[in-house]
Every structure is written in structure tokens, then in C-alpha cells.
Symmetry: C2
Subunit: 296 residues, 2 copies
């Protein structure tokens, strides 16, 4: 069920890509709607490609979240190809079985960068979570290659992800933080102790994030705007890329009434610590502190 771009397949000597030397590769959640215009300031995809090895990169695109996976896969194949990647393959998973078979695993084994597209988060969970494909993605990231995901693909990178309660702005009454508006399920686990939400400012998702967050104050909430990403490196810091802002909520000192509320009731969450970071800013995920402005 995999497609490969055999014409360019042999041209990249993967083992020599410098990022292979890292103990864990970078992880890059993207807030969706990343700039795909060539020649513009499409910083996010350019940085992904750079970390994947630049002109030596062999990208595997995983468009499984999309209901039009063929189309999305071809689009990214074209984009990364035009950007100069050495090879771009699309991993197609139409049923769970596909994600456990050698064609998928072989593709991932040769990748120098893995890119998970947007779409429906529940498709990622039902088709990929717990499969050998997921394990291979973890293993390859542990070996040093970059794994990026946009929109739904960003959320699944973490150990915990939100499903349901799209919290799309403009639907009055869905945007406030309400108990039970979202469920939390297990993601791929490349990142720990955080919940990543995307299209964050554009869809007014503070309420949705807080509704999950209220019951899980130990997690860090990370809201990514569109065309905005964070690059999380081996040093445990994230750096903001792209054209928007990243919202970070630290709830370690916060209190909520989550366990006293019924499903559907609006929640109260007090004493959260809020950061919004523009492009180029860095944040230390261990200390939960931004790298000071005068050092950024």
C-alpha cells in the first residue's frame, strides 16, 4: 500500500546525514495551514527540510489523517520535491493492517524525515496508534531523524492528544471550556507531559485546551497558531518558527473545579501561567521558563 518515488530513491546516502548523530531527533509540531508557496517565507517547511538533510533528504509523508490521503500525499510530494528533497515517498495506510506490513516499515526505515499531514485526528488514532508504523516512527526519531506533523499530525506527536469537541470558533457555545467537550487519548509519545492543540488563535481553542487541561494540571498546554511551529530539540527547548504565535499554559499551580462539574458545564480554571511567544523565541520545557528575552 505504499507508493515510492523510485526515480530518486538511491541518490541519498542516508547514513551520512549529520542529524543521525543526535541521540534523539527533533520533533516539530505545526499549527496547520503552513505556508506552502515556494519562494515565499515558508519558514516552517524549509526548516523541516533542512533538518531532514536538505538536498539529501528522503522524506516520508504520512497523509493518513486525511480522507483524501492520495491527494494530500501527492501535494506534499510535489512541494518537497520542488523544494529540493532528494526523495519523497508517501506512506498509504487504508487499514490498520497496512501499518504493520513491511512496505510501510521499509519506507520509514530509509527516511531522513517523517511528515504527518493534517486531517481527522481520529483517523490517526484508529489507523496508526499502536501499530508497527508508530513504533517505527518512535524508533527512527530516537535514532535522530526529524518527525514533523501539522494540524492533526501535530497533536498526535505527544503522549496525550485531544479528540472531539473541535472548538471551532464561531460556533457559539462550543468555544468556552466545558467539561467533557473533548476526550484525551494516547498519541505517538514522541513528546511527554504536554498537550498540543493547533489552529489555535484562528479557531479560538483556548476553551478546548483548558477543558482538557483542567483535569490534567501536570501537562503543559501548547497552542500553535496556523503557519507556526515549534522545533523541539535534544536540549529540551522549543523554538518558535513561522508567522504566528505559540501559546503556552503551565497549569502546575492552577486549580479547577473539573471534578465538581457535570458534563457540559463551563469550567473554572484559576492561576494558570500564560506565555505567548513570537517567532524565534525559545522556551525550556524542563524548567517551563522562556529563555530570557535578552538572550533570545
Amino acid at each position: 500500500m505504499s507508493k515510492s518515488d523510485d526515480g530518486t530513491r538511491l541518490s541519498a546516502p542516508v547514513a551520512s546525514a549529520p542529524i543521525r548523530r543526535l541521540r534523539q531527533g527533533p520533533v516539530m509540531p505545526i499549527g496547520g495551514a503552513e505556508d506552502k508557496e515556494l519562494g515565499s517565507e515558508g519558514e516552517v517547511l524549509e526548516r523541516f527540510l533542512e533538518l531532514a538533510g536538505g538536498s539529501a533528504a528522503r522524506i516520508v509523508v504520512i497523509p493518513t489523517a486525511s480522507r483524501v490521503a492520495d491527494e494530500v500525499g501527492s501535494d506534499y510530494q510535489k512541494i518537497f520535491g520542488e523544494m529540493g528533497a532528494s526523495g519523497v515517498d508517501v506512506l498509504q495506510v487504508e487499514e490498520r493492517l497496512d501499518a504493520n506490513e513491511p512496505p510501510a516499515l521499509d519506507l520509514l526505515g530509509e527516511a531522513t524525515g517523517i511528515y504527518i499531514s493534517g486531517g481527522d485526528q481520529s483517523r490517526l488514532v484508529s489507523l496508526l496508534a499502536g501499530t508497527k508504523t508508530m513504533e517505527m516512527i518512535r524508533m527512527r526519531n530516537a535514532e535522530g531523524i526529524i518527525v514533523a506533523g501539522t494540524s492533526a499530525g501535530a497533536s498526535i506527536l505527544s503522549s496525550h492528544m485531544l479528540v472531539g469537541g473541535s472548538g471551532r470558533a464561531g460556533q457559539s457555545g462550543t468555544a468556552s471550556a466545558k467539561k467533557g467537550m473533548v476526550d484525551m487519548v494516547a498519541g505517538f509519545g514522541l513528546l511527554q507531559d504536554m498537550i498540543i492543540d493547533q489552529h489555535f488563535s484562528q479557531r479560538g481553542r483556548m476553551g478546548r485546551l483548558l477543558s482538557a487541561f483542567a483535569a490534567n494540571p501536570g501537562l503543559l498546554g501548547i497552542g500553535l497558531d496556523e503557519d507556526t511551529a515549534v522545533e523541539i530539540g535534544q536540549d529540551g527547548c522549543l523554538e518558535v518558527l513561522g508567522s504566528g504565535m505559540v501559546t503556552i499554559i503551565d497549569g502546575r499551580n492552577s486549580t479547577s473545579d473539573y471534578f465538581e462539574r457535570e458534563d457540559g458545564e463551563v469550567l473554572t480554571v484559576i492561576d494558570s501561567h500564560l506565555f505567548v511567544l513570537g517567532p524565534g523565541r525559545r522556551f525550556d520545557l524542563d524548567s517551563r521558563r522562556p529563555v530570557p528575552l535578552d538572550q533570545a
Copy 2:
């Protein structure tokens, strides 16, 4: 230029309304799209009417923010009439002169509750700010009567209000906090030291609020969801009403790079203190602390 509802005008003995005894009347900013269905749980408008004197209330509606002020005025006249107000008048201001003339001032002088509709904030500023109508609204509120405003009408209640940069969610690139995305102008001044934004979760306006806030860390940022209001009483506390949540950002300890950024650049604002409050919750505006959950 004023319309009055003379049929019911003489029925309410205004001077005896109990709220007249307060030193300052309540102020009620509403996040827009308040529930106007009779018989439903339209808590916000019901509470407004109650504070205006219930069946003895004489409401003055100010629909000046709307480009279809006649229509909006009539709608509210009908709503408050059906809810049982003793009298409902509509104050029409088509040019600034109207706001300085006796018909408008006389109406306000007899009101037990003033309600400012939504629409375009710049119309409120250009037609009403600094007029005798504004002074009369301040004076009547100081005498004890309630002043409520919804959407644009909510924002103008404070000393500082945002104009421009609608920050409507869904317009990619407009929702992140950027320098210069909004201007701040003087509002009516019934509330001090805060910026009120509305349609907050629904339109993803965190970025817009923070962009103003970054340069004004002494102000409290208050984001009202649709069909959600805060009632601010003489005790300096606000109480949440309606069906959504209220987002409060205290920036006294926060740091931003506002003064180092150029117009249009995304801002960084760190160490803000975030509260989201559900219906019934109270927050002390002096101490900037919520009334503890177990006392609410």
C-alpha cells in the same frame, strides 16, 4: 432625534427604585450574542432588567454602534417590553450634535437602566465619546443606575477600549498578537484599569487582547465569551453571568518585547497570570484574585 415610548413613560416611580441608594450603580459588560429568547435561560438580560428595577424599570437603549440603529433599537424595545419593563426608550444619535441635546439627556435622566447595543466600536467613539450623553451616562451610573453594554457596547464601558484589528478567528494571520494590530482609545470610563474584549473565545481574540495588553501591563484584560457577562458591583468584584466563560489576564508581572518590535511583528508576552471563570464565579478586581472556589 430621540424616540420615546410615551405610553408607559409615567408609570415608573424612578426615585424609589432600590438601586438608587447605591453610591455607584452596577456595570455589566456583555460578550455579545446574548440569549434574547423569552422563557429560555436568558440569564444575562434578565439580570440586567432585575438590576434596572424589574417591572418598574425604565430602560434606555442606545443602539448608536449599529449601522441599522433603528432596527436594533426596536428589537431591544420589543425584548425588554415583553420581559416586563415598565418603559423602554431608544436614544437615537445620528450625528454628534444629537448627543449633546436635551432630548437625549432628558431620556437618560429618567432611566433606571441604560443598555448600549453592539455594532461598530468606532461609531460609539466618534458619535458619543466626550459628549454630554457620555457625561450623563457616567453621572447616572454614579447615582446608582445600571449601565450594560453588549459587544462594542461592552468595550466602551471601560476607560480604555480597542478599535481595529477585529482579530476574527478564521482569518489566518490576523489572530496572533501583533504590534499595531489594534489601537487603544478612550472609552466612557465607567470601569478603570481594564480592557474588555468580547466574542472572545468565539472569535479567537486572545492575540488581539494581548497585543494591546503587551504595552499596558498595568491593565487587566477581560475577555467575554458570547452570551456571557460580568456584573461589576460596588464591592469591586465581578460575577460571571450567562452560558460561557470569562477569560481574565493579569499582566502585572509579565514582560513583553512590545517596545522592541516593529508594527506587524508577532509579540512575545511572558509570565501573564491566566484565569478562566465559569458562570457564578466571582473575581475581586482590587486584589486581582478570584473569590476562592469553596466560597463561590
